[in-house]
């Protein structure tokens, strides 16, 4: 059995100065182009009585708005975070299904495919995650620096103690606060790895099945392609919802505690 040539890094098409342009990057640009066209289409045809496209977009936006409202507590704050979450969701869902466009996967330059699923490359997923999590940390830090740092370095609890009997609990609190820093990094890694792993595995499974025997090239990959389409939608949904939950968790950290 000869395995097909599978590698994690994408093929490089050409270089612009010091920046190598890979096929994953080119398809990511293509996805953003598609999204801009979609935005212009929806924006110019907006009407009181919605058409089909506007209806679809409105359903998506309302769904995420409700979810963010549940996570954040008020509609005003939800309206500030929802545009970013919906943009991420649209980017991920279009990039996951990009290779479903007929004939797009068979355009080649030399022996390199011109288009490839952008989310099956680690850079895009980690870029989206870093953009979301780091920007929300920066916003929260600028709004209330001391309170935000106090969520991780809980040394102020030492001064709030009423008796020496509370010392073990306070020490545990401080230790858990320091562990939260590792938790933030783990969020970043797990969120980006999940999307990348799912999309890359979908590609690899189809490749391996179709290269097993001569006969398995034709009908056998179909169930696996269907599965990877399904997991593309599910992972796009999960990625955006989890990003929203993590971001609103950090956002809620600087609010007054209820108790």
């Amino acid at each position: 059995m000869n395995l097909p040539q599978i590698h994690l890094d994408p093929d490089i098409l050409f270089t612009v100065g010091p920046v190598p342009v890979s096929n994953a990057m080119l398809s990511a640009f293509f996805v953003s182009f598609l999204l801009i066209v979609l935005g212009i289409l929806v924006k110019t045809r907006i009407a009181l009585i919605p058409g089909r496209l506007q209806m679809l977009i409105e359903i998506i936006v309302t769904f995420y708005l409700e979810k963010m409202e549940m996570a954040l507590g008020s509609e005003k704050e939800a309206r500030r975070l929802t545009p970013f979450i919906v943009t991420v969701a649209l980017i991920v869902v279009i990039s996951n299904q990009l290779t479903l466009i007929p004939l797009l996967g068979s355009i080649t330059a030399g022996d390199v495919n011109l288009f490839k699923t952008p989310t099956a490359h680690y850079s895009l997923t980690i870029a989206l995650t870093v953009l979301g999590l780091v920007s929300v940390h920066a916003i929260v830090f600028l709004k209330a620096p001391l309170r935000h740092l106090g969520n991780f370095f809980k040394f102020h609890l030492l001064f709030k103690m009423k008796s020496i009997k509370e010392l073990p609990m306070v020490l545990i609190e401080i230790f858990l606060g320091l562990m939260d820093i590792i938790g933030e990094i783990a969020k970043l890694v797990s969120l980006s790895t999940r999307l990348f792993g799912n999309m890359f595995a979908g590609e690899v499974v189809v490749l391996i099945i179709s290269s097993l025997l001569f006969a398995t090239q034709f009908l056998f990959p179909i169930p696996f392609i269907v599965l990877s389409i399904l997991s593309g939608f599910v992972q796009a949904f999960v990625f955006s919802i989890l990003l929203g939950i993590f971001m609103s968790g950090t956002w809620n950290g600087i609010k007054e505690k209820a108790y």
């Binding site: 999940r194 799912n198 999960v238 989890l242």
Partner: protein, 75 residues
């Protein structure tokens, strides 16, 4: 044993052992979600959405081992 065969054994072991936990976890999650849906069909949509999110979190250790075995094989 040469390095090449050790690589294949490591990748297989990594994926096989890593799939045990998520399998059990997702089974429990789906069973409990089904119970909840059968008991209260009106909030089926909410339970289903939350089940999908919970499954994605449960799945993450499986995805870690998948990525590690992919890196071992092709990286």
């Amino acid at each position: 044993m040469d390095a090449e065969s050790a690589k294949y054994i490591a990748a297989g072991l990594c994926m096989g052992l890593g799939a045990v936990g998520p399998g059990i976890g997702e089974g429990i999650l789906a069973a409990r979600a089904m119970e909840g849906m059968a008991r209260n069909p009106q909030i089926m949509d909410k339970i289903f959405t939350n089940m999908i999110v919970g499954m994605a979190i449960t799945e993450s250790t499986g995805i870690y081992s998948l990525v590690i075995s992919l890196i071992i094989l092709f990286g």
